[in-house]
């Protein structure tokens, strides 16, 4: 097991960060936008990419002795907490959806006409007269499997269930893993079932804007065979879904139908066409500075095109002996193609590309107006009030249980509390020394909740087997440059933001001139220079406000703020890395880490 200490940077990480690595997984508590602590579970590669390379923050690992049984118990406890938090967050979203649904019900009861969405139904052109052959084949498969009248009977049953669903607010509940579904969840499941059955019966073609064309060459004969084989297997599996016992089969069927139509279009046109998988509300973080944008787009495009080529080969040309393309591989190909296409669009428009984590499961919704029963306005108003109260109670419960506090409940204190709880025993009782298995308690004083203090305490108290160090991207690049061309000129260049070859300023980086993380002796001097530069930039920002919306002024103000600690020999700011090339991700991520004995 490793205890990780991540050095600070400006922004929301000025105190540093900590995590716990068990095998390949790293568990760490992050503060989310709502101010709640959330347990994250990342692979080592992903964690290092995020923190050491993009966030430019060196990571110190302390290898700690812990028996296999205790390590397994600790991991299981952290996994259970992670799943419980996800259930809590999902419950909050579902309770908010209850509010939205009952607001719609109230408006409808007062005479309005409300529409409600069904995910993945928005890919179909329901006004088209010519049916899609792929969906007609699937419809025939369903009839062959379940009987000729099955689809109509199933749709009638779903319609009846939807009409009979009482529009009653869901109580806040316990937010445990096995909580019963909320009203909005059940309503969505039924209306997506209905949408899937109706669309399957009509078998409409895809909308003209439903697809994106993957960059690359035309489909080869072997790729066409692989794609047709995948489509046939999926068609057989999809035919079973309308009779599934899982309550949420509607979306799976809708997505499967849209993908079948996309695969049919690919085979017809001889090129790889995939569903447009981007959610409508995908954020587009700001671009780096104008002078950096060409290199930024080139780097991202290199990664994206490489990913498409690899995913295409994995799905449509698997090596001998490997299984044929399955849902996982197809989704990865679809995601990679969507990223590559979006990058081309963004680069052409000079706009930021969209951001969303993998995988991008296509969900484009379509609205239906016939799924919400017209009820009594007074009753709907009463249920709406109850739903709002339940959502508010849930939010209050989450705040009480997981609210971040700089002192007392942060990423350090919560991690140690989790360790204590896991090692205290299965009954949850707090043993006299739950961290005894590790060497002794390391938290107790107020300042023990500071990340770098906690790392020192771990080093002093726990059974330490050794250390490892993951340098930041800038540290790696600087060392490589100085190894290639040692000398004062290179050293000085790498010390400044304008001369460092590897510094690719993130859009939110503050204004500064000198890096001070590797310059302890000269830190106050560099800090003073940084302060002057930042203040000057801030003053300039007053003039440029109309053009940049205050961006330069904010960067200058933050730059001045983070220069102050440097005057007292304390470094917080390290700059971030706006982009990495594909070769840097594969090479830099794992090179130059150092290990040592205790």
């Amino acid at each position: 097991m490793d205890y990780l200490y991540v050095e600070s940077n400006e922004g929301g990480s000025s105190g540093g960060h900590v995590g716990l690595a068990i095998d390949d997984e790293i568990f760490h508590f992050q503060q989310d936008a709502a101010g709640l602590l959330r347990l994250r579970r990342d692979s080592r590669a992903r964690f290092r990419l995020r923190y050491a390379l993009f966030e430019n923050r060196p990571v110190h690992l302390t290898r700690v002795a812990l028996g296999d049984a205790d390590a397994a118990r600790l991991r299981d406890a952290l996994v259970r907490r992670h799943l419980r938090e996800e259930a809590e967050d999902a419950r909050g979203v579902a309770l908010d959806a209850d509010v939205a649904l009952l607001e719609a019900a109230l408006r409808q009861a007062r005479g309005g006409v409300e529409t409600l969405p069904a995910r993945a139904a928005g890919y179909f052109d329901v006004a088209a007269a010519i049916p899609a052959a792929a969906l007609a084949d699937l419809r025939a498969g369903v009839a062959a499997r379940h009987g000729p009248g099955f689809l109509a009977a199933r749709a009638a049953a779903v319609r009846a269930a939807l009409a009979a669903l009482p529009l009653r607010a869901t109580p806040a509940g316990t937010a445990a893993l096995g909580d019963a579904p909320t009203l909005a969840t059940r309503h969505r499941e039924l209306r997506e079932q209905l949408a899937a059955l109706d669309l399957l019966a009509a078998a409409p073609p895809l909308r003209a804007d439903a697809l994106v064309a993957a960059p690359g060459t035309a489909l080869t004969a072997a790729e066409r065979v692989a794609l047709a084989t995948h489509a046939a297997a999926r068609r057989d599996a999809l035919a079973a879904l309308p009779d599934s016992a899982r309550p949420d089969w509607g979306y799976a069927l809708l997505l499967g139908m849209a993908r079948l139509a996309a695969q049919q279009a690919s085979l017809a046109e001889g090129r790889l066409l995939l569903l447009d998988a981007w959610p409508a509300d995908a954020p587009a973080p700001p671009l780096p500075r104008p002078g950096d944008q060409a290199a930024y787009f080139a780097a991202l495009r290199g990664q994206a095109d490489g990913a498409v080529a690899r995913r295409r080969a994995a799905c449509l040309a698997p090596p001998p002996g490997e299984p044929p393309c399955d849902q996982r591989a197809y989704t990865r190909l679809e995601t990679a193609a969507n990223r590559a296409v979006d990058l081309r669009r963004a680069a052409a428009a000079g706009a930021p590309p969209r951001a969303a984590p993998d995988p991008l499961l296509p969900e484009r919704p379509a609205a239906r107006a016939d799924t919400l029963a017209v009820g009594d306005a007074a009753a709907a108003a009463g249920e709406l009030a109850a739903a709002r109260a339940a959502a508010a109670a849930h939010r209050a419960g989450l705040r009480a249980a997981r609210r971040y506090a700089l002192v007392g409940r942060n990423c350090v204190s919560e991690l140690f509390a989790s360790i204590d709880a896991a090692l205290a025993g299965a009954d949850g009782a707090v043993a006299a020394a739950p961290q005894a298995a590790l060497g002794g308690p390391v938290d107790g004083e107020l300042w023990d909740g500071i990340p770098f203090v906690s790392a020192a305490n771990v080093d002093d108290t726990w059974h330490v087997l050794g250390h490892q160090f993951w340098p930041s991207f800038r540290q790696q690049s600087r060392a490589a440059r100085l190894a290639r061309a040692p000398g004062a000129a290179a050293w000085l260049a790498e010390t400044t933001t304008v001369g460092a070859a590897s510094y690719r300023a993130g859009a939110d980086d503050s204004t500064f001139l000198f890096f001070t993380d590797d310059a302890l002796a000269t830190r106050p001097l560099f800090g003073a220079a940084n302060l002057v530069v930042a203040l000057a930039d801030g003053v300039l920002g007053l003039a440029t406000w109309p053009a940049d919306g205050g961006r330069r002024l904010r960067a200058g103000a933050r730059g001045a703020l983070y220069s102050l600690p440097e005057l007292a020999f304390v470094n917080i700011r390290k700059g971030t890395t706006a982009w990495l090339r594909a070769d840097e991700i594969s090479a830099a991520a794992w090179s130059r880490s150092t290990s040592s004995a205790p």
């Binding site: 000025s14 923190y51 799943l83 096995g178 949420d248 849902q327 995601t335 990223r339 971040y404």
Partner: protein
């Protein structure tokens, strides 16, 4: 040590935030993390990807059983786990059932209880039942 600790605590308080990350590099990170994943997977459904999926299903099943949740609501959470792995039709993926079997074993479910789970989840499909049994026996 304590003086420096307090100094840093004060400086941390300046920002009134901590334990969070910058969003400005999100687009690059998401794209790069995608590349990172692809470099470790060379096949259509590499053994690493499949094992990761099975393990997540196993952990969810174990946690679910230990939480005392009712079977009726089990599959909704399973849908969310599968979605993270790019699987929407999880009934068509035998790794789902192998993972469930492994999770039932980890949770200490007895063979009698296992038979009930198999009956409910396999829904008469012998292949699914065999996959659950396979995961339970591993």
């Amino acid at each position: 040590m304590r003086v420096w600790s307090l100094v840093l605590a004060g400086l941390s308080a300046l920002s009134l935030a901590g334990c969070s990350i910058s969003d400005s590099v999100s687009a690059s990170f998401d794209s790069s993390a995608s590349s990172l994943g692809s470099s470790s997977s060379s096949s259509g459904s590499s053994s690493t990807d499949r094992e990761s999926y099975r393990n997540d299903v196993r952990d969810y099943t174990d946690a679910y059983v230990k939480s005392g949740g009712q079977f009726d609501n089990f599959t909704r959470g399973l849908t969310e786990i599968a979605k993270k792995h790019g699987v929407s039709d999880w009934e068509a993926d035998q790794d789902t059932f192998v993972g469930i079997g492994a999770g039932l074993k980890k949770a200490g479910v007895t063979p009698t209880q296992l038979a009930v789970w198999k009956s409910n989840l396999a829904n008469g499909d012998a292949t699914r039942a065999a996959s659950i049994q396979k995961g339970y026996g591993q």
